[in-house]
């Protein structure tokens, strides 16, 4: 399948309009003041992936590799990201009347969860969620324990097993570019209008609008709105998401929530158990010791 930006535009005016909206919106929103505002409001940036618009050209995977200093990947569809390829386009054959081409393309990368499992797992804060949206990794802090990989429900962090100074690799939402007021590379590179950058709240509104106005084109679900407690990347599709290889057994609460109770219990144990033990030790202490020495060993 080839890229057909012009064709795409003529085929659907909405796309062109949306792209304009996305780019303008991003351009405006990315002024430093707006950035600060986004942080203050807890309304991070994100990307809306409309799989009904993706033509599977894989431009995003190429610009991503170039921008991150990684080898340009083979031009094929892949199901999973690797430590060499931070984003892939997964081509799925789908037999469904809503998919006239018979194939759906799904761009995959780290979803930049609102409350990321990886960041809460990281004991050095090398994995870190920025208020502006990106979850980034810091090589000066990471000790390579791979607990982030154990915890991420999407299996996104990847480890360089064949390096003496391994990195954890995953999409960083081009945090460097966001800070400089530019779009993430993949969004800037996508000519098909499948990727829309913006504030998450705006993207949710936009997604709902698309679902409402084109009931036949979309399955009425926004992936990432509630999955894993909400993610910064959101997906629209014509068919249910489990048909597209999205994990079906996800929590709607955030993953760090799963360890919250345990962590709350820690100070309780540390304050209650020692006095209790001391009390028992005193109570059970029988005075069998001779008077000459100390108390007990």
């Amino acid at each position: 399948m080839t890229t057909a930006p012009g064709q795409g535009r003529s085929a659907c005016d909405r796309r062109g309009f949306l792209r304009a909206l996305g780019v303008c919106g991003a351009g405006l929103a990315l002024s430093p003041a707006a950035l600060a505002q986004a942080q203050a409001e807890g309304n991070p940036y994100g990307v809306l992936v409309d799989t009904t618009q993706c033509v599977g050209c894989r431009t995003c995977t190429r610009v991503c590799a170039e921008g991150h200093g990684l080898p340009v990947p083979e031009d094929v569809c892949r199901e999973r990201t690797t430590e060499r390829q931070l984003t892939v386009v997964d081509g799925r054959a789908v037999a469904d009347p809503r998919v006239d081409t018979g194939a759906v393309f799904v761009k995959r990368q780290c979803l930049h969860c609102l409350q990321p499992a990886c960041a809460s797992a990281c004991l050095t804060r090398a994995m870190y969620k920025h208020d502006a949206g990106p979850v980034t990794w810091d090589k000066g802090k990471c000790m390579g324990c791979r607990y982030c990989m154990v915890s991420c429900p999407f299996d996104m962090p990847k480890f360089e097993y064949h390096s003496a100074a391994p990195h954890i690799r995953k999409c960083d939402l081009c945090a460097d570019r966001l800070a400089a007021g530019e779009l993430p590379r993949c969004v800037a590179g996508c000519e098909a209008g499948a990727l829309t950058f913006g504030r998450r709240a705006d993207l949710l509104l936009e997604a709902r609008k698309r679902i409402a106005t084109e009931k036949d084109a979309y399955h009425a679900h926004i992936f990432g709105e509630r999955e894993a407690g909400g993610t910064s990347w959101l997906y629209l599709a014509a068919v249910p998401f489990d048909k597209l290889g999205f994990p079906g057994d996800l929590e709607y609460v955030s993953y760090p929530n799963l360890t919250k109770e345990f962590l709350y219990g820690v100070p309780v144990v540390l304050t209650l158990v020692p006095p209790l033990l001391l009390g028992i030790a005193k109570a059970t202490h029988r005075d069998t010791l001779p008077a000459t020495g100390g108390r007990r060993a």
Partner: protein
């Protein structure tokens, strides 16, 4: 001035005495070319070579770890299982120092020493598994505290607990060096260290389970529940005590010349008592497992292959040793208790490996099977630990009460052998 000279010269003499004593103690003892030594030395050497490649070319050059299995044998067995087996130390000090059950006192030192070395070596094995070990100090020195991380908690508790165990054991070191005043000083800190150590153990034994809470979609549902931390904590009680029973059997044979009469004398009573505690803890554990099972409505999983594996673990290696322990207690049978301990230990190994490796990502395209090198390193670490353990037991008063002390201060204990330590 006269005072000063008087106080310096004994100190100097003391120092000279300790250092010459140390030089003499550092020499190896006994035959060197025993089969055990040859095998373990080979393993340790092979481990060194493998670790060279591991640090030069990355973890992938010696392990089969992959993106689906970030943790393998080194974490699943060395750390997660090894620490469960080291749980005997906190249970035994609880019995002796908190509940003041004197009958267990003869095994306190050896158990604490074992626990301490297990942490040093097995938790130390964690460092071998780190991709960027030079950053391991980050969560320690405080420039990056990931306080929301269970692993952060576990790491800190490991470190603090090692310190607590070292303090608990330190009187034996002072005694060995003949530093009586230091020993008395260290002994005064024991109860504090014990209480801190037990609290830390409760938290990090359960914390090792809590590590897996976020991996909800990756562990076969039969092994995942929100109660993993409690299951890990309860099973660490019988894992640790089974290890104490098992290790006691071996120590008794290997180090019989180092053990005091009272140590031998009290072995049976101790083993029977521990069997009873194990049976109780395993019963609680089984009860918990049943509750979790019913609560999670896991019936549908039982029919698949995983179901039989699950039943094998819980019936064959928990329920059966639980019954054996109960029998051993009723019949006061040490051999029965030993068999039960071996079965129970196998069960704990199975359980920890199931959670962390075997039932992990059951649908992964490429399943993880450790390389022979991962096994060699694991055995090498165990060998090194046994060497250090043997070195210490052969020199320090571990399996007997402190001789100098017992004869000079508390002659009472000679009169009554069942009184294991009259004074401390």
């Amino acid at each position: 001035m006269r005072d000063a000279t008087r106080s310096i010269s004994p100190a100097r003499a003391e120092l000279a005495r300790v250092s010459s004593f140390l030089r003499q103690e550092l020499r190896p003892r006994g035959r060197i070319l025993t089969p055990f030594n040859v095998i373990t030395a080979t393993l340790v050497l092979a481990t060194a070579v493998i670790l060279f490649f591991r640090f030069a070319y990355g973890l992938g050059s010696v392990t089969n770890l992959n993106q689906d299995y970030p943790w393998g044998l080194w974490i699943g067995f060395d750390v997660v299982t090894g620490v469960a087996f080291a749980g005997g130390a906190y249970v035994v000090v609880f019995l002796v120092h908190v509940l003041n059950l004197e009958r267990y006192r003869p095994i306190v030192r050896v158990t604490v020493l074992n626990g301490f070395l297990a942490y040093v070596f097995y938790a130390g094995a964690l460092v071998l598994d780190l991709g960027r070990p030079w950053n391991v100090i980050n969560p320690v020195i405080g420039n990056s505290f990931g306080v929301s991380s269970v692993l952060f908690l576990v790491a800190w508790h490991f470190m603090l607990y090692m310190l607590a165990e070292l303090i608990e054991f330190s009187p034996a070191i002072a005694e060995w060096l003949g530093l009586e005043r230091l020993r008395r000083f260290l002994e005064r800190m024991t109860l504090g260290a014990v209480i801190l150590g037990i609290s830390l153990s409760i938290l990090h034994q359960s914390g090792l389970g809590a590590l897996f809470l976020m991996a909800k979609s990756k562990i076969q549902p039969l092994w995942y529940s929100e109660f993993i931390p409690i299951q890990f904590l309860v099973s660490s009680v019988f894992a640790g005590l089974s290890m104490v029973i098992f290790e006691g059997t071996i120590s008794r044979r290997v180090f019989h010349h180092r053990a005091s009469a009272s140590f031998h004398f009290s072995q049976e009573r101790i083993v029977v008592g521990l069997s009873r505690i194990c049976a109780g803890a395993m019963f609680v554990y089984l009860f918990l497992q049943a509750l979790v099972f019913l609560h999670g409505q896991d019936w549908r999983h039982l029919t698949a292959g995983w179901g039989s594996w699950y039943l094998l673990e819980n019936v064959g290696f928990v329920a059966a040793p639980c019954a054996l322990f109960a029998l051993a207690w009723r019949n006061r049978s040490t051999p029965l208790a030993r068999w039960a301990a071996v079965l129970a230990m196998l069960g704990v190994i199975l359980n920890r490996l199931n959670v962390s490796v075997i039932a992990w990502q059951p649908h992964a395209a490429v399943r993880y099977v450790p390389t022979w090198m991962e096994f060699v390193v694991t055995l090498g670490v165990i060998s090194a630990e046994i060497w250090v353990f043997r070195w210490i037991v052969n020199r320090m008063p571990v399996l007997r009460e402190e001789p100098a002390h017992a004869t000079t201060v508390a002659p009472v204990s000679n009169a009554e052998p069942t009184h294991l330590r009259k004074e401390a």
